[in-house]
């Protein structure tokens, strides 16, 4: 959370936010599965101005061998921001922020993957943020779930994720960059609809217990909507593949 600047109003008198959204309104989200040729599974997400590509490889043999886990697959995630994805150019390669995000996204995804079916292997998830505008970790996690499903990796469910925050004293859904910079709190949430479990949860800022409770509920409701978009994206992909197969056969 940044420093609140005097005079910046993030919610207007009609209760609308700087991009015109209502407090509990998501930005437009487009998800597409199976967008890469080489990756075993992939997904592309446009979430507001965020543009993120995810490629998945695996299960594949893990090298070097002494890192193999004889009881399960190792879930390895790399979240990376392209140098041009932000206004001030980012040096290519991992920084401390992206290393932490990679860790928590990887841990969350491990929750839903049946890792014990693939001992000694790795399942590698590569998240490439091409353009960033707040909420990339949630958008990346959302897309990564779709990419894993696209790769045919057995999972107990998808993870849907969204960030909730506090802006001008109000709890609002899915922060945009200005809200993230000048708001009072940010709570990224990753949720598994089928089990009702929260598998990613961070928070920074300043929230009362009641505010946090409200944020959590708002986030989970939104995750349920995002979950439907994820399933839609996968369905479209399979319809497309099926159509292609039918066309080939004909």
């Amino acid at each position: 959370m940044g420093i609140k600047k005097e005079g910046i109003k993030l919610i207007n008198e009609d209760g609308l936010r700087i991009d015109g959204r209502k407090p509990d309104e998501l930005r437009p989200i487009k998800i597409e599965a199976g967008v890469l040729k080489r990756a075993d599974g992939s997904a592309y997400i446009e979430w507001g101005k965020n543009k993120i590509l995810v490629g998945v490889y695996g299960p594949r043999e893990l090298h070097p061998r002494h890192l193999q886990d004889p009881t399960k697959a190792k879930v390895q995630c790399r979240y990376d921001m392209a140098s041009f994805s932000v206004i001030d150019r980012k040096r290519p390669g991992p920084d401390r922020r992206s290393i932490e995000i990679s860790k928590i996204i990887g841990e969350a995804l491990e929750n839903v993957i049946f890792t014990h079916q693939f001992p000694r292997t790795s399942i590698d998830i590569y998240i490439e943020v091409l353009e960033a505008n707040a909420g990339t970790r949630c958008a990346g996690l959302t897309a990564a779930s779709v990419a894993l499903a696209d790769a045919g990796i057995p999972m107990k469910d998808l993870i849907a994720a969204v960030s909730v925050g506090k802006v001008d004293g109000e709890i609002v859904l899915d922060l945009v960059k200005e809200e993230d910079n000048y708001g009072e709190a940010d709570v990224p949430i990753g949720y598994v609809p089928r089990t009702g479990e929260v598998v990613l949860l961070q928070m920074d800022g300043d929230l009362s217990y009641e505010e946090f409770e409200k944020a959590l509920n708002m986030g989970i409701e939104a995750c349920k909507k995002i979950y439907e978009m994820q399933k839609d994206a996968l369905k479209r992909k399979y319809v497309k593949v099926a159509t292609e197969i039918v066309e080939e056969v004909e």
Partner: protein, 260 residues
Amino acid sequence: MTSEEIVSEIKRDYINRLAEVGRRIDGRAFNEYREIVVEKGVISTAEGSARVRIGGTEVVVGVKMDLGEPFPDTPNMGVLTTSAELGPLASPTFEAGPPDEKAIELARVTDRAIRESGAIDLQRLCIEEGNKVWVLFLDIYVLDYDGNMFDAAEYCALAALLNTTVPASRFDMGDDFKLEVERYPISMTFAKIENSIVVDPSLDEDNIADARLTVSIDEENRIRAMQKGLSGGFTVDEVKKIINTAMELAPKIRKKIVEA
């Protein structure tokens, strides 16, 4: 299975069976911390320092300060930089080398608890807007790792800041002065092991935990930072219960750190 894995498996079963009857392996209650020992001012070359022990876990934090330039987007604020070293002497599983993802997570989670709570008013560390500010290095060294290093690091960081004198005279910037600490965030870490949730996980508990949640509470009972770790999940009710417990535990721990 290696013998190590077998031991771990047996321990896991044992801890789980104890949990079913409401007990922990070292006899503590689920919401009970091990002994916390706080010592301030242990390093005379540092601007501020502290040593904290929680059970067998030991952390030293030293504060160093230097003059520098502010970040372009916060020209009137000093710079806070937090690092963590998981010393290879602290655990057979810690390796020498640059900070790995565990050390980076520890540093960033501690940093957020301090920064987001406004523990330090960084504007007070501005000397000349846009040009010259104090840079505060908060360096965490984990020396003995016996479980729950997140809380030990955060308490130690807070204690070191409470012990800090800005070395103005060394830089010809007037008289030295005490760093003011504005907020007293207290982090509390909970581990979920099968169906039970324990605070301040011991090493054995840390090793087999399914999920971890760290919550930072300030002196006005407001939530200032959270971090979930590991692959397990929490239900919404579990999250709420954890926050409530944290709010109960925080004041006593805070008192110990402030008054040390």
